[in-house]
Symmetry: C2
Subunit: 402 residues, 2 copies
């Protein structure tokens, strides 16, 4: 392999990742455990929702025609014919003209009524109800099936279940839910310079940060991280660890290999077990990224420095995890703001500049690509397209939030 990486554009790298990523199998889980899981099938309403025409206020069901001309001074007088019980198993009796029926919020509107007079605008005198406002047909009621029709598709496959979605699943009778199985993704940290977190590094050693960045990233997107620890510069141990990870996981992230020798070692290990498709991406930071298949499983080699790793996770590896979790709906959250400083850029590669967002201002956090502190100080990243020479102060820009 040559010293200089043959870099591919970011979209080409994403295309490769999408291509080699397998679709997940599905499983069934109880609704109680389904939050944040990813739907593997479309979901349909089993019944009309609501299943009956219901009131959205406390008050009196009326025929709207009976209330024409009603006002504070000249209320309409209707005979109170009864009360609609909450949760009754049978339909209330049909209402006759000139009468009304008390219905609480959520209660069923009797046939013959087509509007609800709010309790605040009524007065009860004995068996009579004085209605002091005119009502339009349909006012303060929801018709049977107005929310969802039986048989209607209510949620699409590929959706990550939100709290609102959980409510819809409950309403449509799904106490068991078909979801994508959670993929197991191995994490190997390589590099002779690495020591475990609990050690104090001496000389030019550093703590293993990438294992924890990768773990949290995978958890965030709904994959199960499996740690394989630190592998120092011993090809035999690396080989054994990689085989172990490939045997037990659905994909592997190899972090590190920040030096050329280490990168070549990683690429060689993948090549001898399958194929390296990408070795270098036109992406800053994140150029020395490797994408391949080993023993039929996707493997991504990440740059050694955490700040670069983080960008590659978000920009490249995210597509692998979305694919493997069956997630077809996740979109990055994007906010707009005004750039507070010029950002120069080297043409020809896609650059990601970490930024802080304060109100409407987008402040680029310059400094060297290797600085960890920008991970906590930044709110997101600004993408500078490969063809651009940079962005000027005052430009409205879009920030992808972390």
């Amino acid at each position: 392999m040559s010293i200089f990486l043959t870099t591919v554009p970011v979209e080409e790298a994403i295309r490769v990742v999408r291509h080699i990523t397998p679709s997940p199998p599905e499983e069934v889980v109880p609704l109680e455990s389904a939050f944040r899981r990813i739907l593997s099938r479309d979901v349909f309403a089993d019944i009309d929702i609501p299943g009956f025409t219901r009131s959205v206020v406390d008050g009196y069901a009326v025929r709207s025609a009976d209330t024409t001309g009603a006002g504070e001074a000249i209320p309409v007088i209707l005979r109170l014919a009864g009360r609609s019980a909450m949760g009754a198993s049978e339909k209330p009796e049909k209402m006759t003209p000139g009468s009304c029926v008390y219905v609480p919020t959520g209660g069923e509107i009797p046939d013959g009524a087509d509007a609800m007079a709010m309790i605040e605008y009524c007065e009860v005198i004995g068996e009579d109800v004085l209605v002091k406002r005119p009502l339009a047909a349909g006012e303060n009621i929801i018709f049977r099936g107005e929310d969802f029709r039986a048989g209607e598709r209510v949620l699409e496959a590929g959706r990550r279940l939100s709290p609102g979605d959980m409510g819809i699943l409950a309403a449509t009778g799904h106490n068991m839910v078909f979801v994508s199985a959670v993929p197991k993704i191995g994490i190997i940290s390589t590099g002779n310079e690495l020591v475990p977190v609990e050690e104090v590094p001496t000389g030019s050693r550093v703590r293993d940060v990438n294992t924890y960045l990768c773990r949290a990233f995978l958890e965030q997107y709904g994959a199960l991280p499996v740690q394989f620890g630190i592998v120092r510069d011993d090809p035999a141990v690396f080989e054994k660890t990689l085989d172990n990870a490939l045997a037990t996981c659905d994909a592997v992230l190899i972090s590190g290999g920040s030096s050329k020798d280490e990168r070549d070692l990683t690429a060689g290990m993948i090549q001898s077990r399958g194929e390296v498709f990408v070795h270098g991406i036109s992406l800053a930071p994140g150029k020395p990224t490797i994408i391949g298949l080993a023993k039929g499983k996707p493997v991504i080699g990440l740059p050694g420095h955490p700040a670069s790793t983080f960008i590659v996770l978000m920009v490249i590896a995210r597509h692998m995890v979305l694919g493997m979790t069956g997630n077809a709906s996740e979109r990055p959250v994007v906010v707009k703001g005004i750039l507070s400083e010029n950002i120069p850029s080297a043409k020809g590669r896609e650059e990601y500049v970490r930024v802080r967002v304060t109100g409407n201002r987008v402040v680029p956090l310059f400094g060297k690509s290797g600085l960890l502190n920008t991970l906590v100080r930044s709110d997101g990243v600004l993408k500078i397209p490969a063809g651009s020479e940079g962005i000027e102060t005052g430009t409205e820009v879009e920030v992808i939030l972390w």
Copy 2:
């Protein structure tokens, strides 16, 4: 209690919630389990990061003064004095003027050098390295402690741990992390009309949706939901269930009581075990909300209809959960856009209109407050302040994303 609720403004309700919410105890967890937990103490760097002056490129460490005037045509010739090994336990030898040392990305810069010449701009001829560009002092290197200084605060208490934060914790040696204990929050669904999800509702019955909305909401914010099931209109059962929830949980959400009688029952149950502070909020939807303390624990009574419940969870109950989880950093994600239709509003109460965000357009989802389908069709809500008469088409508005 009167028929008409005495409503309080939203900010007053939030103040009450904040006031009655207890602070969480803390616990220690391994770093592997800390993602999304909430830091209970500030975190400090135990060492300088990086712990040595390091290169951010593969190349040659040089004295920048030696490279003055270097160019393609007239390279500077430096003697290759050695290689800096990755992860060496000792400092590399001091470099003498006129020489250079090979240093890989992440490797240590020897004393005497103050810049890195990238390998792409160098040529090796025997023992000599030809450097073809001039370098500024500090170019391509990160100085010891430039990222974090030993003793510096790197993360603040109250922060919900993000992937980037996890990396910072690893870098600063925190294999064990002090976090807020997870509060247990009980969920009781009341209402004679409720049936479990697995049943097909008949008559004017409906499935219990709120239990699942509340569950997912609590999980989203890092609390542990405890389900107490459905309680129909039996005060004795309600009483027993509430006491059970209060005995085993740190707070309780009571959903339902959509009718006045049920609301009064809920309020009465709380009052007899403590105090009701709020019974009605100037909030649409979400007016019939109850806030109180029972046996010293916060209890929130939510409106019966899921679409209203959801707003009250986000606008009111969220503050209880943030307080009980020790979360001091969570802010709603807000995006801007242009309103596509007029939104009228009744003055005097804070209104939340569910909206869909398409590119730059904010489309209000009108329709009745009780419609479930707006939960999935909407991307977030638009707040209309209590004093406003509405918002006109074309206005730039802020949307709080779900």
